[in-house]
Symmetry: C3
Subunit: 437 residues, 3 copies
């Protein structure tokens, strides 16, 4: 439960708010690389933390996000021309189609052909321009103070070769914090993503899917939070036979990254939850394998909504299963072989989170011991935003070296001294991807 004020503090990420200022200190995933497929391609609209922008890859391959409205008369630069060597001035840049004003990717107005050649007016025109970079199939933007710009993130999924990774993006009609809380809410896995057959052991039909049996033997895991310099570890401990514990370890990295524990040797799942504005966000969903290329069967499944991915409208990134069609819940399925009746793990989560309202009323929730990680993430974000507003130097989690982590699971003896120490190795990203650093 949060006070009304704390709930607003946590969820308001517009420019000038403490949370908005905090999040602007990090590189932000905003687009799939394929949305800007090649140098000189058309610009695309991107709203980030409430700011209306256009993303551009100029003819030289340079990336940036620029303010959407041309400062002259405020028309959208979405319609602009991405010009190159064959333009009259031969320079890379974005030219507004209304009166021909042209900007480079640093935000300088470099041409103003509707004013007399002698005019110096253009020298006084500057637009907001945020630096952008590409890594791991994603375009990242930095919207904070120039002097504080950190190194680009080195999350393992962003470092592996492209063939070992699948990234998808979907629009969710909730605040980013609400979506992220779903990503670190480990206890719902035993319910929402189980199926009716598993839940009720007497039923004949079963499909264990990717869920380990450990999840089903103990639906009330005990949660342990281990703070780290980059965020925290969530250890979910379940009984596993008389003398062992089954541990599932979720990673949470500042300010919005989560890694889901994988079972056996399959791909690892990861997310980034990025505010579009205060009432919607993009979920970047990543499946990657640290050791081998994804198989075509895996990729094909992800493309069709398998695992943590969803099938979305190509233009808007809104999933085809949505509130207006009740996420295609199938009540017959729900009463027989599926727990929720909603097809797909991702969409089960979305249905839950969107049904809370766009910004859930956290003054009226009733958290239990299983919600420890949610409480910890809120405290960490609010605390770091307050510290930064109070003059603190720099928030945590900006050092790329600290981001070289994974999630995982393990069966440990009940009398093991420390689950943290005992799982250090399985939580480390593969060092070969950081050879040069």
């Amino acid at each position: 439960m949060l006070s009304f004020d704390d709930n607003s503090f946590l969820t308001d990420t517009n420019r000038g708010t403490p949370m908005g200022d905090l999040l602007r200190r990090y590189w932000i995933p905003v687009l799939l690389s394929e949305e800007l497929p090649e140098p000189g391609c058309p610009p695309v609209r991107a709203q980030v933390l409430g700011e209306r922008l256009v993303a551009v890859r100029d003819v030289s391959g340079r990336l940036a996000l620029l303010q959407e409205g041309c400062p002259h008369r405020r028309v959208s630069l979405f319609f602009a021309r991405n010009e190159g060597p064959d333009a009259p001035d031969g320079a890379p840049g974005l030219r507004c189609v209304y009166h021909g004003w042209k900007y480079d990717l640093s935000g300088n107005c470099i041409d103003m052909p509707n004013e007399p050649k002698t005019s110096r007016f253009k020298d006084h025109i500057q637009i907001t321009a945020y630096p952008a970079q590409e890594r791991g199939g994603v375009i990242w933007v930095y919207m904070g103070p120039a002097e504080s710009q950190p190194a680009l993130p080195e999350l393992e999924w962003a470092m592996v070769p492209d063939a070992q990774r699948f990234v998808s993006k979907r629009l969710q009609f909730t605040n980013f914090a609400q979506a992220m809380e779903g990503g670190i809410d480990s206890s719902h896995v035993s319910f929402l993503h189980s199926d009716a057959g598993l839940w009720n052991p007497d039923r004949a039909q079963r499909d264990t899917g990717s869920l380990s049996t450990g999840l089903l033997q103990d639906t009330a895991p005990r949660f342990f939070i281990e703070p780290t310099d980059y965020g925290f570890l969530i250890g979910a401990r379940r009984q596993s036979g008389p003398s062992n514990y089954y541990w599932r370890i979720t990673q949470w990295l500042m300010p919005w990254y989560t890694f889901i524990p994988r079972d056996a040797d399959g791909p690892i799942g990861a997310h980034a939850w990025v505010p579009i504005d205060n009432e919607s966000c993009f979920a970047f969903s990543v499946s990657y394998h640290p050791d081998r290329p994804l198989t075509s069967q895996e990729t094909n499944s992800f493309r069709h909504g398998g695992s943590i991915h969803a099938v979305v409208d190509e233009e808007t990134f809104v999933p085809l299963q949505r509130a207006s069609n009740n996420y295609r819940i199938d009540r017959v399925l729900q009463s027989t072989v599926s727990w929720s009746g909603i097809p797909g793990i991702a969409m089960e989560d979305v249905a839950m989170q969107e049904s809370m309202g766009t910004v859930v009323d956290r003054t009226d929730e009733h958290l239990g011991s299983s919600d420890a990680a949610i409480v910890a993430a809120r405290r960490r974000l609010i605390g770091e935003a307050r510290a930064l507003a109070g003059g603190a130097d720099s928030p945590s989690g900006l050092d790329p070296a600290s981001q070289r982590v994974r999630s995982g699971s393990a069966v440990l003896p009940a009398d093991a001294e420390s689950w943290v120490d005992a799982t250090a190795e399985i939580r480390a990203a593969d060092s070969r991807y950081y050879a040069n650093s």
Copy 2:
């Protein structure tokens, strides 16, 4: 005409308002029985007086309306599982699919499988649960103080055998009071529901439909309001030949029931106008015959928008004729054989009422003598709400015995002493339906 304050007072039915408190003292029709077709069927969403609820028929057949948001993290219980004997705990109840919290129909949290077995957390969790019952093809809910719960209504249409009744439901985009005022506005019948042929006696084409000729000989009836313990009678008196009056008697029962006078020996029409929120309501429309089963011809007609019924979208209950298609007005028809050009009596009313805006500005209307019943109903509702807020014991119309009434029409001698006494018999519901009380 109402003052701005009185208009707000009349139309605001949210929890904690005087009008909201008044209406919560009555049983409220909320669903057609067929929306919850059998024990254990999936829950359905229902918004009533501004409160977001889910309606449930549990495996034991018990009915209730529960708050929509699970108190844990506020996800919608619309997605919940309606569990029974084959559930792990074997108990009837609604289980949230997110983390498995389960509620019985009294609102108790009876299972919390994601918390340790030793936890007593669930004993502190209680959700809003309103008792519901079924009668007359309709599910009714009581949302008032438990100690004030009245007996279930005994309106004649709710007491006759099912074969003698047809009930439909449609969503109207206006405040309930506005819809109800249409139901007691007797003088519009001679116009809106007439047809061009009737209005203009020189035209060749005529279709008297179900309208008695009495309505057409005198379009300016004189209205008499006779207060009763349950509401009031509306007597509309028209000349009928030199020495007789034609009386049409509409019944209005607290707080939103109307009975339309029938002609000859056909089915009787009745309505209930129930607030969804302050800007929309459900119109329950009932055609019933007190003496015989409805014929298949009658039922078939009702199903296709005949009489007071409308054809609606199956999911939303919004009529297919709607504002966005101008209610399918046919201007050629309007200029020839139909007065309004809008197909269907119900939709003629809807077109008028929705065109006033969702909450009509009653500070800017000009009521005449024909609006006497509308004035009386407003005064009655406002007066009873004020009295209740001021500490009065109980509003009127709660005694089921008082609800055994009908509408009707009669031709009386002009010198009859009392239209009320002279019509006592035709206004009485059939006593055989109350044999046991």
Copy 3:
């Protein structure tokens, strides 16, 4: 750039605002004649300057705009019957279908059949009725004080025979001032309406369309504003060879009329930008030839979105190219033969203007020397509205004789003494259309 207050002052045209009062002193184009095709036809809805009205052509052919809401219970008179000689009272007028109240086109209630014949209630009922007239394929309304009603406009396009004129109407989702500013923004023509082939002289594909070569040799014309009694002239001067200037002269007439310069001997283009409410407007687009009937090829082209016209939804007048489909921008076309990639001149303008937002933030624009006409029009409108609010007698541009003007273009010697004097003849409307005045 305007202050926040001035921007509100300029764009708020509701009743009782200074700008609203100013605009109500002029005849206002509201409908195409074909929307009220014949005497006694059904009424149509029309919102003008924020007021909800219905437009009526009664059986006698008289035109008026009446308030939409019947004063009795506020239902819409859109559904009303347009009655004539075969009505019971034999009088022309609009009868509300709810209770039969009937109004003549001066706003008098002339029948109230649901009240007793002896009632005088109707004598106290009066509705808002604005006089309307027809000229030039358009229906015009006057919504100002009766004693200030001016003569009907005599714009040349409204005076020529019907065969010489094509008028279309489209709904634009911006304030009227923003749309009008597009109409007098002469410098964008060299960019937005050029094509990529023209802009880049090295490309092979070219299509000069209707653009004169003068526009392309000099993209930074110098603007001269010449105030007149009816508005002002905009002279755009471009170099044209070593010793000549190419002049394009746009006419702006109070309060919202523009005439586009024509090239060679084709039809002249003209617009009227009329507020529906503060966030939308109707653009009336006119192509007319002062000397000859339009050819069927011309008319056919206009009908399919050629020149300044757009293809619109028949019911709503919203263009089929719209924000939700990005105005059907074709990025391949944009990178090859078209400057904007948006099909059609009109839709290029709409895309720009709607992308600014419904009411552009004029506190955050950066106007250059090419925006002189925009600055002048704002000053003129704001100045005249202030003067009128301050008690001035009458705004400018109301004398029809002053409206007999045209736009045009000319090549003048660089040493000509006065571009205004030198173009007097080509700017005059043809006197034969004013023979009777």
